[in-house]
Symmetry: C2
Subunit: 118 residues, 2 copies
DNA sequence: CCAATTGTTCAATGACTTTTGAACTAAGGA
DNA sequence: TCCTTAGTTCAAAAGTCATTGAACAATTGG
């Protein structure tokens, strides 16, 4: 029940860039970064897409090596692979997250003022 | 005869990332960065793709705001839009170029030992 | 056990992307 | 003027990607 992840040295720059070049996935990464350290489950991102579609995008992020997913019961706890990404592509993740933070055009997680259980 | 370029504030992060997420285009950007300051014409990149296909990829880079193309006679002189990219997305271009520089899997410009007129 | 919750897989569809060759334009040199 | 050089445009063919709904699996709580 462990999901397939690339090892750090299998992470490919063009694939990471292509995967981040989608507004939904970039919004996921931005939100993960804003809650860094806190593993989030998929349902946190339901503002961004349907459950099915989310599954697709989260798989893309995981397969690219951008995120890690840990299976815990019926949930998948998702975290950014910051350590591995920083090792492979120093500064890349930080600059992407900083730029994404400024981006008004990107879809938002948690705009629906339900920040009860943050 | 001036080609259409986005203004600096029209440059979009997801579009830039998506455009860089293609090995041919990333190789173009890497080569442009390695010759920074020197405007290159399209034919310098013929190692990477056919003339037609290059025209397509160079248009993508230009339309995304990654490169600037100046029409000089029958040539287009291509440069990186480093100033604008650095302003909009600080650190992004540098980290991408550094990471691309390490990437053995990326196609190469000038591998055919014809570095006569570098 | 039953039902709800959490998320995946599958097949289908529509939409974009990449690549190609043939035909073209525009400038420059002989 | 004619030819070459540099690059574009067009339409077609392939391929890839995103999105959907229906069906499925696994865990947890009552």
């Amino acid at each position: 029940m462990t999901l397939p992840h690339p090892t750090a040295d299998q992470i490919s720059l063009p694939i990471v860039l292509a995967v981040l070049g989608d507004p939904t996935r970039l919004a996921i990464v931005r939100y993960l970064a804003s809650k860094e350290g806190v593993p989030l489950n998929c349902s946190k991102f339901l503002d961004l897409a349907s459950k099915t579609n989310l599954s697709y995008h989260l798989a893309k992020l995981r397969e690219a090596g951008v995120t890690r997913a840990e299976v815990v019961g019926t949930s998948r706890l998702i975290t950014l692979r910051r350590d591995d990404l920083d090792k492979r592509f120093p500064g890349l993740l930080d600059s992407v997250i900083a730029a994404a933070g400024e981006d008004k055009a990107l879809p938002m997680v948690g705009t629906a003022d339900s920040e009860i259980d943050a």
